[in-house]
């Protein structure tokens, strides 16, 4: 939950620092032809639609995409308004107030993963995109991304924009010190499973005792959980009847146990993500590996600075898949032009829209055709030793199983995540941690 807020704030850093080869591909070759936006009959009179998003820096990076749309559709003009860089404490409460009031929200609004469970549980506020033919887009998205856009009534209400995916970033200098391979393909082969990752960690720690193998508890937990949840019917903290299953889901326990193993083996640097300590440790080589969604590359390069360029590299994540973060677009039912709004949404979440956003802001596309576009598929990251970031992240989401987010998923996730950080840092004892973990989950679910 917290992570997603900061993701927005740090998108500025990400956007600036993602040194993909976007520049080489040329960002300004906007197609002159009309984008294929569903082939609708344009309305007779001119209308203006508002697109509301959030995030710092380039945020959704729709400047180019919206300009393309507006040039091709003189009668349906889109006004792109990024409301704020803060999702959780500004954007989300504001949008909820607009939904409740029945007016004020844009015709198309962006939504972060953290609030998707809540939105899916409020079908009355959103247009059914299936009504406008958008359910034909299913093959374009990984199952995970698609299913999260289907609400509790089984209707399609949101389509995916960017996706985090998951890779494993590592410090080549620390790996060298520990006598481990530094080439990214060899590193990926070190840890096909999470158990292998643990073993590598023990070897690392034996040679380099003064640095952590991993930064802290949370990223690893989320990655393992996403994989385990897939094995357990795609459920995390809530079953599909919105009943809390934090204590019953073996996937949650498995992810918890794994973090406990890592932490009690002394492999974590006991850091909380987004803390000052975490930033400093990143600059000073305080830990060797960290779970990396696509946007995290920008956070690392921005935080670690030029002095650490080429010291970081990107390998595959154990277990092969994972995701952290990503957004969706939706059309509030209060919109006066839901049909046209759905067409714009279709364009923005389609291949052209997502490739344009990737070129502009480095937002990794969730659309599979966009991932296969050369501008994305051949993207390399100079800061990370020219790691082929495009294919690495595409692979991490291809096999990702869909998961169900309950209405209060974000609250429960934040509450249990605190217990993990506390246990890792020592303010909660590990033998009491599971009981507390469940208690906090129950409290947060209210």
């Amino acid at each position: 939950m917290m992570n997603n807020t900061r993701r927005g704030v740090l998108a500025a850093v990400a956007a600036g620092a993602l040194a993909f080869t976007a520049a080489a591909c040329g960002g300004d070759e906007a197609p002159a032809a009309a984008p294929s936006a569903g082939g609708s009959a344009a309305p007779a009179e001119k209308i203006e639609l508002t697109l509301n998003t959030f995030g710092g820096g380039e945020n959704f990076a729709y400047d180019d995409a919206v300009a393309q749309w507006n040039a091709a559709n003189p009668n349906v003009q889109v006004k792109y308004v990024n409301l704020t860089d803060r999702f959780e404490d500004t954007y989300l409460p504001q949008v909820l107030q607009w939904l409740e009031a029945g007016s004020g929200a844009g015709d198309i609004i962006g939504m972060d993963e953290g609030a998707m469970g809540l939105m899916a549980a409020r079908p009355q506020y959103f247009a059914d995109l299936g009504q406008y033919g958008l359910d034909s887009r299913k093959a374009d998205f990984p199952a995970y991304k698609w299913d999260t856009g289907v609400n509790t009534e089984g209707k399609l209400f949101a389509l995916g924009t960017d996706i985090g995916g998951m890779a494993m970033c590592y410090r080549t200098d620390l790996f060298e010190k520990a006598g481990l391979p530094t080439n990214r393909d060899e590193v990926s082969k070190l840890w096909p499973t999470w158990n292998d990752y643990l073993e590598v960690g023990k070897k690392f720690k034996a040679k380099v005792p003064d640095a952590g193998f991993v930064d802290g508890a949370n990223t690893v937990y989320e990655s393992v959980l996403a994989q385990e949840a897939g094995k357990n019917g795609g459920q995390i903290y809530f079953d599909k009847g919105q009943q809390l299953i934090v204590d019953k889901n073996p996937g949650v326990k498995a992810a918890f146990d794994y973090v406990q193993q890592l932490s009690t083996a002394g492999l974590t640097a006991k850091l909380r993500s987004w803390s000052e300590e975490w930033n400093t440790a990143m600059q000073k080589g305080g830990f060797a590996t960290m779970g990396c969604p696509s946007w995290m590359l920008g956070v690392i390069s921005g935080t670690s600075g030029e002095g650490n360029a080429k010291k970081w590299d990107v390998a595959a994540v154990p277990g092969g898949s994972g995701n952290w973060g990503g957004s969706w677009l939706m059309v509030p039912s209060q919109s006066k032009h839901p049909k046209e709004a759905a067409e714009v949404l279709n364009f923005l979440t389609g291949k052209e829209g997502q490739v344009a956003a990737f070129k502009e802001g480095g937002n990794f596309p969730s659309s599979i055709p966009a991932q296969q576009d050369p501008a994305v598929a051949e993207a390399k990251n100079a800061y990370f030793n020219d790691a082929p970031s495009g294919p690495i992240f595409a692979a991490s989401v291809a096999q990702l199983s869909p998961v169900f987010f309950g209405e209060k998923h974000a609250q429960v996730k934040a509450a249990v995540g605190e217990v993990l950080v506390g246990a890792d840092q020592g303010s909660v004892k590990w033998d009491e941690a599971w009981t507390r973990f469940v208690e906090e989950g129950v409290k947060a679910a209210g």
């Binding site: 909820l96 506020y125 987004w274 609250q411 934040a414 217990v419 020592g426």
Partner: protein
């Protein structure tokens, strides 16, 4: 007061009987009456109108919301006082009250004492007195968030300067966020760094209104500077001390930015709520978990707590110097 003065002058200026026929027509009379009677209210009204909109209305609306199970963009059901009964049994809420009171005490008591001593020192004849007086105010003009960010780095576990210095004396690195005592101290120092100078300047201003002859008389009677400070300065500063104590109470009970920044921007105030203040609790319930009703009830309880504590502090401080 100005109203009655105006009214008085009017009765004097309106001429009596003989010239009654010359008095203005009824409408004009009404307007001049309105001018004299209503204008003062009109001039003071902007404050009260704004206060009604931004003060009274939210207060009453919050009370109304607190009687509901009020979820943002969700269900709203009237539940009477259930939020309050639930809140009074919520150990997380009481934990946040304990943290708030704890941080308040360890921040405010040394802060006001230090401010008093500082003001006394600045009241002496010193070289570069103006520069010194201005410099104690400097922390106040820095952004509270900047202060909190810098202090959070100073108190860093792995690379913080405080642990580095403690390391010279063989103290193991302290994870300041991890324990109640350590996090309270860290936050209290942030508060003190910012507000000690402010209170010192207020005390200094008050000290300068104390007549010099009192000190001269005391000096002739052989009172030491220390005795003069406790026997003259402190008792005469009592109204000012009461003011600063009440303002500090309100500030301390609504403490928010420092603990938030200290806890990496989260409203949880540490992994087990070691330094979650009541204000953070309210924001967490209302704007993270969207339980507006519950948050509103907590806000009202906080309001009552501030009133009660301010009254207790007032009673305590009023006793200062009485025993002497």
């Amino acid at each position: 007061m100005s109203l009655s003065v105006d009214a008085g002058s009017r009765t004097r200026t309106v001429p009596p009987g003989p010239r009654r026929h010359a008095r203005p027509p009824g409408g004009r009379r009404f307007w001049s009456w309105l001018d004299l009677r209503a204008t003062p209210y009109f001039f003071v009204s902007p404050y009260f109108i704004l206060f009604a909109i931004f003060g009274i209305f939210p207060l009453i609306f919050t009370a109304w919301v607190s009687l509901h199970d009020w979820q943002l963009a969700g269900d709203k059901t009237f539940i009477g006082l259930e939020n309050y009964t639930e809140l009074l049994a919520d150990d997380k809420f009481w934990n946040s009250v304990l943290n708030t009171v704890g941080i308040f005490v360890i921040a405010t008591v040394p802060q006001l004492l230090l401010a008093l001593l500082l003001a006394n020192a600045l009241n002496k004849k010193l070289r570069g007195r103006l520069v010194l007086r201005l410099s104690v105010l400097a922390p106040l003009i820095t952004s509270v968030v900047a202060v909190a960010v810098v202090f959070t780095q100073l108190y860093g576990r792995d690379y913080g300067i405080v642990n580095w210095v403690l390391g010279w004396f063989g103290v193991d690195p302290i994870h300041w966020q991890n324990q109640k005592w350590s996090s309270w101290i860290a936050i209290a120092t942030m508060v003190d760094w910012r507000w000690t100078g402010y209170n010192a300047i207020i005390y200094l201003a008050a000290m300068q209104t104390i007549p010099k002859d009192l000190y001269e008389a005391a000096a002739i009677d052989g009172a030491s500077p220390r005795r003069q400070f406790w026997g003259i300065t402190v008792p005469l500063l009592k109204p000012t001390i009461i003011f600063t104590v009440i303002v500090s109470t309100i500030g301390g009970f609504t403490l928010f930015a420092e603990p938030v920044m200290f806890g990496a921007g989260l409203m949880t105030g540490g992994t087990t709520g070691q330094f979650q203040t009541v204000a953070m609790f309210i924001v967490k319930e209302g704007f993270r978990d969207f339980q507006y009703g519950y948050a509103a009830a907590a806000a009202w309880i906080l309001f009552l707590l501030i009133m009660i504590t301010a009254l207790i502090n007032f009673a305590i401080v009023r006793g200062i110097g009485r025993s002497r």
